[in-house]
Symmetry: C2
């Protein structure tokens, strides 16, 4: 009856990040940090998890002398997000059966 929700996406911060990346070409670490009101530590950990699953790619470079982390969603990430949103509907539209 209830489909398993992708545990990688069923977590507030990762879901927020993915939600943002769904509508953005790419996003910088600091941008995501601000938009999600998260701490750098938590964001760093969660981005790594998303990257490890290949839902996003991280590009780590420098802007001048400062580190610059840029994030992009992958096709796999888009598919997972869409599947998650779909699966979640069962939980929200509480129809008896």
């Amino acid at each position: 009856m209830f489909k398993e929700l992708d545990p990688l996406l069923h977590a507030q911060l990762r879901l927020a990040v993915m939600s943002l990346l769904m509508s953005l070409e790419s996003a910088e670490f600091t941008f995501l940090k601000e938009k999600t009101s998260s701490t750098a530590g938590n964001l760093s950990v969660q981005l790594d998890k998303l990257a490890e699953a290949e839902y996003i790619v991280l590009e780590k470079t420098f802007r001048g002398k400062k580190p610059l982390t840029t994030c992009r969603i992958t096709p796999k990430g888009i598919a997972a997000f869409e599947q998650y949103v779909n699966d979640l509907k069962q939980y929200l539209n509480h129809n008896p059966s």
Copy 2:
């Protein structure tokens, strides 16, 4: 930008239980266990948490000689569920801004 999601509801099993209770007068422990495909242990723990938050009430009686746990959602629980569904929309409708 992203609203805090009620941690009590943002958990797969508890959300499934609440979803079921939203459309049912009441439900028995074994019914919920079957519908959510959960183990008795996990369900027991999660029901207690929902009850402690007063999102549901648990009535523990006997049917014949066997224990019978019946669950009902409360007005507080209904409000919380509706709020959660609403808050979640921001995460799902990925519109930039």
